[in-house]
Symmetry: C2
Subunit: 311 residues, 2 copies
């Protein structure tokens, strides 16, 4: 058995998750807050977390992904163009040297949506590469992946590389409408999707032609006229938006994949899974954290002479 | 020539427009702030404005429309059901007596959108009745009317009565996205619609199937990748939303009307006019203020024995 091979880090706007990786898998981990763009220098934040590992195991290489590579992060890692696979991300990673350590930051990915408009992702690309490592059949043929969230990303994988994707502002729009519009200002949605959510999904299908602008106001009029409670109304709104997101994605990317891989928050994945099931599409759910780690390992392994890490 | 017949008032959330009406038309007018639901009692606000007219002409009847009849207004005037014409609105007006004056408040209208969901309007109904008075052909057959704004209302008039309508949250969503989302926070849109607006209209057509959620992010990605300026991007967003609103309305209400009557703000009517022209639909623009006054006159005239006012 050999010692640690490298340190993997997923560094987003609110978290820093570090993993000490060896051939047999993860040896140790440190998870905590670590906002990109905070006042403390990124190098100092990183070193304060990994120093004990370095002291014990020597100068290990470090591979980071996420918003740490954004314009407002540590060093900007320019977007890799589609098609982008593990080797492309490794090749275009930005290299730094910090106190004798080799640190590399994975780039984001720039692509086009189905209408030719530019689109960008940063952080999701490592998760997608990781999803393929965890479920190798995702690396075969054409596959559709979805990251639900503030900016939901729908990505197409072809033979293991990201070939195109599309951002939907579903989560951001839900939060805006709930917290700042005449539809909401009433507190949260139900913790688990209920009858309101199901009704919202149905309405999203019925209103596909009329569009979201003409569907939204029902959230308010039913409260005024039909006595809907606020929590029910917000659950309806969630169904309306997620249903519209899923309907629009399937219209653009097609259903032929037969299955959508959902990466991320389990509660949101549950909602997206229901919306997709309604339209006859199966899902497989993967943890965003597991995918990010597996992606960093996969990207590390494509490096020349990099030894492999057990799955 | 006779003296004044009645006082008409359009009382909204931010304005109070009062008109002294006689057989020959408007004799005098007082326009000013007068927020519904303000601390000062509504009766006191009204009397302070019209006292000079009453002193001179005696106890004239007063007919009011707008948010003054809402739950948070002076007295709630319950919604009239569709179909609703001038006589229906007069019959269901709520009557008050204030210092010897007969005051009546026009109800809002409750209807159903094309999918059977309830919808409500308050204030727009008087403008629609007024549009028919100003352009009598709108009272013949089936006509489509649009009030652009925070909550755009699309209404169908059949033989002079409102038979159904649909609220689209177009203006509210634009303001939310401009002021509170990752797309905006950059200042205003262009004062007059330009190339960005035209591109937004085109994109709204191309993305009808994908839907708004999948179209919005281009507003940001083009700023990040293609160097769009903020004003251009906001003009694009305006075109995207107004184009989606118009497309959804025509999909639901059909184009057979051949023409849409636009009531309200001229700058917004200009944008809606361009969006409708792109889809081959002619428009006629009417002033919201003129329509509200004409509507109050028309509703007043349906009263038993009420003498008529010149157009």
């Amino acid at each position: 058995m050999t010692g640690p091979l490298f340190i993997a880090g997923d560094w987003g706007t609110s978290h820093l998750r570090l993993y000490l990786c060896g051939e047999a898998g993860v040896i140790d981990r440190k998870t905590g807050p670590g906002a990109v763009g905070a006042a403390e220098p990124h190098a100092a934040i990183l070193m304060s977390r990994i120093q004990p590992w370095i002291d014990r195991h020597g100068p290990l290489p470090v591979l980071l992904c996420g918003m740490v590579g954004s314009r407002n992060g540590w060093v900007e890692a320019p977007y890799a163009p589609c098609p982008a696979g593990a080797a492309d991300l490794r090749r275009l990673a930005v290299a730094l040297e910090v106190q004798g350590l080799k640190v590399a930051i994975v780039p984001g990915v720039a692509g086009q949506n189905p209408r030719g408009a530019p689109d960008v992702m940063r952080g999701e690309e490592a998760q997608i590469i990781g999803a393929i490592r965890l479920a190798p059949e995702l690396g075969q043929g054409r596959r559709l992946v979805c990251h639900p969230g503030t900016h939901a990303k729908w990505a197409v994988i072809e033979d293991g590389r990201i070939t195109g994707f599309q951002t939907a502002m579903t989560g951001e729009l839900f939060a805006l409408l709930r917290d700042h519009s005449t539809l909401g200002r009433v507190g949260g949605e139900a913790a688990t999707p209920g009858d309101g959510f199901a009704l919202g999904l149905a309405r999203a299908e019925e209103t596909a032609e009329a569009g979201l602008l003409h569907a939204l106001f029902e959230t308010r009029s039913r409260q005024l006229i039909d006595g809907w409670g606020a929590a029910f109304a917000m659950d309806f709104l969630s169904g309306l938006l997620i249903g519209a997101d899923v309907g629009g994605a399937l219209a653009q990317f097609g259903r032929e994949a037969g299955e959508v891989a959902l990466i991320g928050d389990p509660a949101l994945a549950e909602r997206y899974g229901r919306a997709l099931a309604r339209r006859g599409v199966a899902v497989r759910s993967l943890s965003g954290e597991d995918c990010a780690l597996a992606g960093l390992v996969a990207i590390f392994e494509t490096g020349k002479d990099a030894p492999h890490v057990a799955r």
